[in-house]
Symmetry: C5
Subunit: 354 residues, 5 copies
């Protein structure tokens, strides 16, 4: 349940713009690095103090500052103050319970996304909050902990591959969002495998645990949906916004990310439909099992109760029971037993209970 | 049920604008207090008569008048008359069955909200109606009973913390709405805990009472949803309204509250989905229990009914039954009993019924 | 079923505007009365012929003509002709199967509403159609039968209470609509009580009849919803329409009725959710009862079938059965009976079946 | 299933505008008739060749040409060519699998509707496609087979009843659409009766066939909904379209048809809700019946299994069983039998199983 | 599951516009052919290298280039470079996991569709991606493998049948889209047959496999829906777009395809409703079967358990049991057996269990 909302009760009553790190502390130390580039040169460095990146604000080259770890409130405050970001924005950067959203502050865009990863051990989807502050010549990105998700973009920057070095900060922002959305597909794939396994389990070998697994899966899908759904709005908001930060050539790329988002959402919706079909299957498998049990009981009862009765008849102590004294009486009674028993078996065979 | 609508039948036929207190009387005496402040000074006082706050209407400083208790109709009438609020507004202030809403009367805004609290004893969510009348230089707030929910805002005003003393009445209104919305998160948290407990109960130890608890929870969620849902519209209404009372700097703060509201609503929707998954689990647990019962019955019947039949055979009184006179006949019959009995046990073992 | 649509097949092929009374004839005689008033004077009278009210059309004072009973087609035709209403309007007045709606004919507004009453005997909601023709200086209202629902408005007119005598026909129309909407709350209350009773019945004492009652309730709610839902559109249509008949001061009152309508609809929606939760409860109570029955059967069978087998053993007639000749054999067998029987009881006790 | 879509596979790859009759051939011969009228005169005739009606195209009087039967492709082609209708329109006229729709081609309107009839023998709703081509001074209507549905309109034309002779082709179109919509009410009525009967059957006497009937009904409702739902759009399209063919006086009549359509759709939606309530009832009746069966079994088993055990005790052959030799032993055992049996009966009576 | 999303994980991190063939390689060799035509002449040819078609770009005649097979990345890159298509477009052409969509790049339109085919062996619907690049005087179409679906259009071009040779590339695009949509109807037909068969199977002869088949069908419908649903938007996007590529005469044809799409979607929705009705039927058939089993058990138990008890009575060994010594005792007991047995049969007959 914890995943579906982030505890933020400790914040009640705090002044808006008060920076408090909300969420688990996922990294030991906050790490800062930057890449500064234009079409011709690229400079990349890990820095110890945030002040080292401040000078880039005024340069025409594109600078991407990446901050891993959100618990150093002072550092985040410094960034906010120096770059003159709105206090609420810096508050949202620290609070990992944000809904994905985009806000346009004329000079810069604030973008919050959820990066999803799959924890194979717990069979759980985890979300990490990623925020971007995108201005015309720099991007500041915040992650909860160090990760390698953005490495392919760094690689493309270094190799000057594709158009990335020739275009602005908006294109870099697109590239970063794009890679996050691309990762959703791997989550979807994992879920797809789980659903397939569960479908087989429901049909072949369902136990009460199966339903728990289905419900667990449904909750994971709720969680993913909650993390991805607002992206539709976010990206179409970017497309519609008339901010000068997004250049017109970038629109077609945003449309592409938008299409991917829709594809992911569509698939999640299909999965939800399939999951509710699985619940039906599960419930009917329980009923079918009951039918099996009842059949076994009925077959035993229907064969042996009449036979016991017949045996009971000849266990009676009446003085005058001629059959008891017949020579073949006992043999005859075995004949009756066998006839009745086999007759019942045939009857149940015919009814397809056997 | 009483919670889902407020009895207002006693009002039928009354002229609109007739003030009637509708709802439970939650406080003994009506209490009035005010805080008057500007950037430099702050004055705070509890007053006995409402007339004491009237002079502030004309002053440029911001005045926040808080009224706890709605049953003193005369007092509320006086406020309405002096400040020239629309009679319907004053009627709505008294009637605690309002839906959250915002109305723009050019000179002032009328805002109705529901404050939610969690009654741990009854495991119930309670709602208290809070109304705000927001003009450019004063706010009048009405609560059903005295409470400490707004204390953090008072504290921030006193300490001159943050921007609150520098901005207008609209920012104060935002701060008050914000604190109410923040409280929703604690309700959500409580619900989350309840759902987790219920999920465990459904899986491990469900009784007919469990379904009652799930249905109770679903009703509480309906109630919360009803109280919070209209806030979306309310706040986006504030954002869209072109009233001069809301200054442009305040918009970004309203957007923030809006985001929180959406987050709460999203979570409630997820909870509803989870709750209906729990109903499935509960129903299947009932069926599974039936399967268990049937298995016990079938195992007993399938083992002992055939054995009884065999015993019945040798209880028959036929003259000629050679087995009866064999020396090892009785031993042999015990052999048959054991073979049949153990055979059945193995059969059920193999079928995984044991 | 009859309630959910009104038979109108007899009308097929009739020219539009042909007046036919459709619906049950609920009153013996058509009764006409009028109230003519302005700020200073009020005249009230029951009239025998409709012609008596015609002269008021031209006067500046506000006139409210009320017609109880719709089966006197001639009378309604006369009204239509004299006041020059559109033939389709007069047709709709007579046809009680209308959906609530508002139509703007420049000179006058045509408003159709459903008045709901609760028939305690049949536990049913009944609807009566009420139509208003609202012009700038008169209102003509049509009801299916005489009723006292509008009496409070008449009283307010007579007492010159509130603003009603000072405002125009549009405000009178609002007052009449308001009183109809207010009545919906009493219906909601009745439904709420029914739901509470049913919830208790489902939990404590459900019978197959309980589901019938739930389904009956659901149908009543469908009926109410059908009668009230279009009001949303109707009233917001009034608010949006640019008709000169509705004066700007009246808008805020219409908004108030609109809020009430939304509240009623919200509550009905909540009730529907609760009702479907009750169906779940009912179905699970049936399954639980089955479990109880199966438990009784299983306990009896599991205790006595093995015992019967044991008794059967010693009813066999083998020559050599040493136990039969032991002195304490019979006592011992009773020991076995009691041990087995009590053992089973403990087993079921432990399984919580007892 | 055939009803829910019309086979059109034979058309794949044909050029658009290729006329092919799709659907069952419902009439032997194509019949053509016309009515030509203005305010003063009316001429009515059945014609053999379509060419006879061509001259009316240029006359100022209103002409209504009715074609019964769609399989004479040549004839329909001729109409298309002479009146210069778009080839796709003529294709749609022939293809009876159209969805109701309205298309505005400036000079003329193309309207497709479904006429519904109820086949009492098969308890099925059948749909016949009716198309109208409406120009300013003529209407050409196409039906799949001869029928009398439009007779009341013909009658009104002949009798010069109402306004029909005074108004244009648009009003005639309205009158024809109106009569088709009016017929929907008779279908709704039939369905209503069916639902009532089924509701009674579910409660009193449900068999597996009952569910089949409910599902059949649900499919019929799907079919009706599919035929009627697009009408909403169609008629509001007519209202909104700025075509000169529809004159402003006709709008209020179209609004009236629109209201009727909404009423029919509303009722169908209510019926669907009721039908799903019936499925619940049916499923619970199956469970209740199971409970009844289990009760019978349990009562028999619980009474006679213990008794049989008691009888078994005294059927044992122990040497020393004092009760066997008591004088009243046998009488006493009967006492035990009766006490146990009657005791059980009382027990089940108390549990309300009997 | 694989069908519901296309694995694209291998692409993560690649620069946008990197061409990678995603999907199964369905054809051995890429085949290219073109048809170049105007009103008077037509030239048709299979070419080996894509360069052969480049010269047509500048000619006024309409050219349709068809490429079968998407795995020759170089070839697709060449097309993209020569015709100056956006790199993302070429990427989407290669990636068969696209959602149907239309994108307007001023000079050309990019259209992606899904062609559906029915695999009778696996009872599965397969989708093949078809992309169109439509400029004012040429169309380039891409298919995953060679197919004959477009043959009727080729035939019409060759025969100069209909208007196709007289109109522009936009009309050719329409004709190609139209034929794809037409094919959906054959899929719908297949599904319809399957549903009918399943409905019969559910009623007459349901097994646990039946539910699997229903769920399989539901998944196929999800898949079809996912493939077709976006077409609504696509085609209405074409209608709305103000691109000069689509000429006004073509709009009415696009409207026609739009209608067909809606029809297909409507039918799929109806099928989904029917499928969920089938799940109800299936579940109730399982319950009904259980009732049948229980009836058999109960009948056997209720007849033979009491009889066995009676036989047990006279198997008791009391010294004094007068009946045992009566001459007709044994005959009498058979009378009792028969009376009881036949009595029970009548009882069950009356209860309609037999």
């Amino acid at each position: 349940m914890k995943k579906l909302f982030t505890k933020s009760s400790k914040k009640i009553g705090a002044a808006p713009g008060t920076l408090v790190h909300i969420g688990k502390r996922k990294s030991e130390k906050v790490k800062i690095s930057y890449i500064d580039y234009d079409e011709n040169k690229l400079e990349e460095k890990k820095v110890k103090t945030i002040e080292e990146v401040f000078p880039f604000k005024g340069l025409p080259s594109i600078t991407w500052v990446n901050v891993d770890g959100l618990h150093d409130i002072k550092l985040i405050e410094k960034i906010g103050t120096y770059f003159q970001f709105h206090p609420l924005v810096m508050e949202d950067v620290c609070n990992t319970g944000q809904r994905p959203k985009m806000e346009d502050f004329d000079d810069y865009l604030f973008i919050v996304l959820k990066m999803l990863t799959y924890d194979d051990k717990k069979d759980e989807v985890n979300a990490e909050q990623v925020s971007f502050l995108v201005a015309s010549n720099y991007i500041i990105s915040f992650q909860e902990k160090e990760g390698d998700i953005f490495d392919p973009v760094r690689e493309r920057l270094r190799n000057s591959k594709g158009r990335i070095r020739k275009m602005g900060a908006d294109y870099l922002a697109y590239a970063l969002i794009d890679i996050i959305v691309d990762h959703y597909f791997t989550i979807i794939e994992k879920l797809g495998e789980h659903i397939e396994n569960l479908e087989e389990e429901v049909i072949k070998n369902s136990t009460p645990l199966t339903l728990q697994k289905i419900n667990h899966l449904k909750k994971e899908m709720l969680f993913i949906r909650k993390s991805i759904w607002p992206l539709r709005e976010l990206i179409s908001g970017l497309e519609r916004s008339e901010t000068p930060i997004i250049q017109s050539e970038t629109f077609v790329f945003l449309k592409d990310v938008y299409d991917h988002t829709i594809q992911v959402i569509d698939t999640i919706e299909s999965f939800r439909d399939i999951a509710s079909g699985m619940v039906d299957s599960y419930l009917s498998s329980v009923s079918n099992r009951m039918n099996e049990i009842m059949k076994v009981l009925t077959i035993f009862a229907a064969i042996f109760i009449p036979l016991t009765f017949v045996a009971g008849i000849y266990g009676m102590n009446f003085d005058f029971m001629p059959e008891l004294h017949w020579k073949w009486g006992y043999g005859m009674i075995w004949g009756i037993f066998l006839t009745l028993g086999i007759g019942m078996l045939f009857y149940f065979k015919k009814r397809k209970w056997l």
